[in-house]
Structures are given as C-alpha cells and as structure tokens.
Amino acid sequence: MSQLLEAFRLAQLPDAAEAFRAEVRDFLATNLAPAAPAVRARTWMGFDAAFSRRLAQRGWVGITLPAAYGGAGLDAFRRFVLVEEMLAAGAPVAAHWIADRQSGPLINKFGTEAQKDFYLPRICRGEAFFCIGMSEPNAGSDLASVRTRATRVDGGWRLTGRKIWTTNAQRSHYMIALVRTSGAPEDRHGGLSQLIVDLSLPGIQVRPIVDLTGDAHFSEVTFDDVFLQDDALIGDEGSGWMQVNAELAFERSGPERLYSSVVLLDTWMQSLRRTGFTPADAVLLGGFTTQLATLRSLSIAVTTKLARGESPVVEAALVKDIGTEFEQAIPAAIEAAVAADPARGAEVDADLHRTIAYLSQISPTFSLRGGTREILRGMIARGLGLR
C-alpha cells in the first residue's frame, strides 16, 4: 500500500479535547443568538464582529497562538473541537476566521518579533481581521503567475496591481498579499513575496462582488501605487511561494472541509421527524451519516499528524477533496429528496427550502476555496509518487 494511505489509521481525540467540547458548547449556548437555518448555514461566510469579539474575550481567537501574544496556546485537537462545534452550530465565524486559521499562524511562523508583537495580540483580541490576497484576475489557481508587483523604494515598497475573490476584504483590516517583488511572471515561483497590507492606506480600493445568493462575501481589491513601510514584508523576500504553501496547508488541514452543509443536514433530519419519511429518505440520511463518520475519522487522522508537529500537506489535500465532495453532495441530494413527491409539499417548510437554496447556489465555491479540485488531485498524485 502507498505510504499516503497508511497515514489514515483510526485515531481518537484525546480526553482533554473531549472535555474542552463541553466548555465550547456552554459558550455557544449562551453567546450564540438563535438564528434561522439559512443564516446558520452561512457559518464560515457569516460575518459578525461582535460574536468574534465575544469569542476573543473568552480567549478563543488565536486558538493555537502562543499565550505570550494573547493566544489560547491550544493544541490541534482542541482547535478541531472548537471549529467543529462552531460550524455544527452555524456560528458566524468569518470575521476572525482567516486570522485565526492562517494569517496569525503565518505571522507567528515567519514574522519578525516586532510583527508578532504588533499583530498577534490584536488578532487575539478580535481587533484585527485579515483577508487572503492570493488570487488575481486571470491567475485564479495559478498562483505562480501573479502580476501584482511591489517595488523597493526609499523606506519601503510601492504596490500596484489587483487581487480578486478576496473573502471579506471589504470588512477586514489587513490583507496578506502574495506579490511579485522581483522578476517577471515567467519566473513562476521565483521573486514572489508576502506583504501585510493595511487596507486603510491611500490608493487602495475595495469593491465588493455580489454573489448569486445576494451576499457580498468576496471582493476585488485594487492597489494604485500604495506606499508600504519596510516592515510590511513578512518572512523573506522571494520566499513567498514556500510561505504561501505553508499557509495553504493551515487552510486545508482543519475539519472545516466537512461541515459547510451540516446545518442543512440537521434541518432536513428534523423536518423528516416532524413530517415522516420514506425508506429512501432514511437510506439517504444514513448514507450522509456514515460518510460523515468516515470523513471525520480521516480528518482526525490528519489532526493527529499536525499535533505531532508533522506537516500533513498531502493528507490534508486528500481529505479536503473528498470532504468538499461530501459538502456539495448534501444540498444536491436533499434538493432531490425534498421534491421527490410534489403532492407532499402542502406544508411548505420555508426555512428548509431557503437553506437548500442557499447551499445549492453557493456550494460550487466549496471546491474552489483553498485550492481547486484539480490542484488538490495533482498534489495527491505527487504524494502517490506519480509526478
């Protein structure tokens, strides 16, 4: 068997992580206002700065960051539990999500002491929200071809270019942007760097893009000769490609790749309990349950490697690819099941229909964010020794 598949042995969350789950549930019970399922289904697109600050006051933003910077210093297992419980409840996590998951850990790993002192406590207090500046018009998944350029000038950098599909840039304080600091797009990975951009600076324009559900969760960001101080550079000049891949590993390795449609699954289950169900409904619901149990076990196997200090990049890609398939299958199948008999629709469950509609419409993004299906399958193939 390939080494990659050997990584997926059954593992349990440690008792301490399970004990932490009770704390998380208590917190959510008192701090999460009841909301309609179609609102809760937005969970990691749901932006609620007040909720994020309450979570930060509880000490749970910057979950894995060191206590010295105000972080919770929790291990990967407890992060798994916190994320899982918040997404299952449909908590609006978008405000602090990216800083917590990837920008904070990236700064902690590659930043200078001054950068850590400046940004990390703000992240942990829920005062600094981040967005990810990777994609560009015409570049899309091909990050090596980014054209946004930062040029060295006296005392700093001049930044010009455009980023797109940037989640919540219009509500964030900072962006960590992957830009070209030397060479040309033909150089591919060479000459790329990451810069922390204060989005309030002159010369920056943020244009929200309304999506098909009516939300505006992503945006287009234009940099017109923006001046950045020297200390905007994170990590080493020219190391952007390596750093961005480390960051993407943070983005892909968590349990969030399984739970995007779980509010719908629960809503449908409760509707079936009220209105009765066919054997086909039970088969379908049971199938999602057995698949969830399986995928969660795979995800815990990845988390176990993370907790041991390993960097399970390929394993995370594998779980993300099949996890997003699961997330996308749920609204598609429930759409079919709920409308399987038009005569049965007399009592329209508007909440259920709105939740199905939202997820059916937005689910194409599940396999885009954090790396498309094709990119991930290429990574898995590399892990299998095929490239």
Partner: protein, 327 residues
C-alpha cells in the same frame, strides 16, 4: 505480530494459483489446514480455551489481510465464530456465517447467498434472533452459478435444524458484515497497489501512463475512496470489544461497500483490457469487491439502519449522533 505471521502463511499457501484452484472446485484442505494448525483460527477464543483472547482491534489487521490476499476459505468467519460462540467450541472443518437465515412455515430453514456456502462444512446462522449451528452436509445447496464464486444458498429440512446454541443471533449478521467490511478494505488496498504499480510501469505515447494528468486524477480519487474504506472498516473493530457494535459495523459495511463501484471500475479502466482477463490477477480481487459489497447487505441496507436509528433518536444533530453512537 500475529499479522506478519499470518501474512507469511498466506504468501506461502494462498497464492493466486491456489485461489484459482479452490475456485475451480479444488480442495481447500491444504490452505485451511495451514491456517488451523497455526492456531490462527482460535485468536478470539479465550486463553482458557486455548486461544489468544484477542479483541476486535487486534484482529482487525488480520481480517484486512484476509481481503488483501483474497483468501478463498472462511477463515475470517471461523475466527469470528469463536467470539460469537463464547464457550461453545465450534465443530471442526470449514465454518461460515449466515446472518439472515429464514424459517418457513414447514419448519425448513433457508439462508440465501451465504459466503463460502458452496464449500463450508458448517454454518453458524442467525435464525429468528437466535444462534443456530447447522450442518452444511445436510443442506440442499444451490450455488450461485457465478464463475469463481464460492457462495451458495442453503436449505435445510426441519429435521436437520437443531436447537439454538444461544441468543443474540443478530450478532452473527453484524459480525459477518464487519468482517466483509475489513475484507473489502484489504482487497481495495491490493487493487490500488496493483493499479498504481501498473500506471507507473505501462508506457504509452512514450511515457508511463501515470505521467498523464487524467490518469493521475483518477488515481487520486481512487486513493480517496480507498482511504475512506480503510478508516470506515476500522470503526467496527473497537478496542476492548469482542463483537462489533451495530451502528459502527453498519457504518463500516455501508462506507466500504459504497467505495466499491468507483474503486473497481477505476482499477479496471486504468488496466485496460488486460484487467478483465482470467490470467491477470486483478479479477481475483475485483470480483470479490462486487460479491462482498452485496454480502450481508449493501450500503443501501446498512445506511437505512443508521438513518432510521438517527431519525428515531432525540439527538438534535447528525454530528452529535455520529460522535455518540458510531465513533
């Protein structure tokens, strides 16, 4: 430790040639004898009864190995029977399991699609929720007629059906499903390894076919489904338990079975025509995937059991049910 030792026996005695010979009506005595003499069939018997007293998580890799080697005798069933029967010693000879035997109005008993029903000496059956040991020599056997299959449907007249040896017959169905889940995981590992190896070796258009992106993506997806099957099968084999819990076994059988169509068809697609020939070994495993997907109920059957249990519970969320009842 046990797994390496049993693998060594299987490498020696369960060769592709030996599998073909038994599938073609040859004697299973040599292979069965090698497994019995080694003591491996008693792994789940208590130490007092001369066994190793192993629980489920310790025998899991052995059950997977049975699938990886396409073992053409009911060795996994016999190991499980030791756990199912408790203090009752199983009779000598090839013993298999029938999880869903039915009693007719005239007292006759039938068991449909019994794994190894064509060659078994005894059947441990679930009959009306009780455990019954049946002498296969006294059964009317109807083989499936499927080439190479050792499965058969069996029917006993009323006078050939003895008294139950215990209750909890339902455990027979659950354990039989769980061991088929493990066998599926093992056979899928083997199919994946064969397919990966083939794609690295087979040259077309001037390079190994594994260098083509479309082939790489098919192998990546196949790997995902093999990984799912592996971890799902393991869910049924809980540490400290002798009998798989119902919903964990249901999950294991459902999810491994669900992987079958994609894993089998991808293996065959990437092998091309050679894959469907008798002489190439791929078919030894891919035929079994389809047979084992149906054995003891497909994913449709087991998913329904899980779905109805979930709908019948008071749990507010699928995740909570999964954590409390399956994992």
């Amino acid at each position: 430790m046990f797994t390496e030792a049993i693998e060594a026996i299987l490498v020696d005695h369960c060769t592709p040639a030996a599998i073909r010979a038994i599938e073609n009506g040859g004697s299973a005595t040599a292979l069965w004898g090698a497994l019995a003499e080694s003591g491996f069939l008693e792994l789940m018997a208590s130490e007092d009864a001369g066994g190793a007293g192993l629980d489920l998580d310790a025998v899991f890799p052995i059950f997977v190995a049975m699938g990886r080697h396409a073992v053409p005798v009911p060795a996994a069933q016999r190991i499980a029977a030791r756990a199912l029967l408790g203090d009752v010693a199983p009779p000598p000879g090839l013993l298999t399991l029938a999880g869903h035997a039915q009693r007719a109005a005239d007292g006759s008993v039938s068991a449909a699609h019994v794994a190894f029903g064509a060659i078994a000496d005894h059947v441990l059956a679930n009959l009306d929720g009780q455990r019954v040991l049946l002498d296969a020599a006294r059964a009317q056997r109807t083989t499936s007629g499927i080439r190479g299959s050792l499965g058969a449907s069996l029917r006993w007249t009323a006078d050939a059906v003895g008294a139950p040896v215990g209750d909890n017959g339902a455990q027979v169905a659950v354990f039989s499903a769980a061991l088929h889940a493990a066998a599926l995981a093992g056979a899928m590992e083997r199919l994946f390894a064969m397919t990966l190896g083939y794609c690295n070796d087979r040259v077309q258009f001037g390079k190994a076919i594994g260098k083509f992106q479309s082939i790489q993506h098919q192998l990546s997806v196949m790997a995902e489904h093999v990984a799912c099957a592996g971890v799902a099968a393991e869910l049924a084999f809980k540490a400290g338990e002798k009998i798989p819990p119902l919903l964990a076994a249901a999950t294991a059988k459902a999810r491994t079975s669900a992987s079958v169509p994609l894993v089998a068809s991808t293996a065959h697609a990437l092998h091309g025509a050679i894959g469907v020939t008798e002489e190439f070994d791929l078919q030894l495993y891919s035929r079994r995937l389809h047979e084992w997907r149906m054995a003891d109920g497909s994913e449709t059957y087991w998913n329904r059991i899980v779905g109805e249990a979930l709908l019948g519970s008071a749990t507010p969320s699928v995740l909570q049910f999964t954590m409390e009842e399956i994992l």
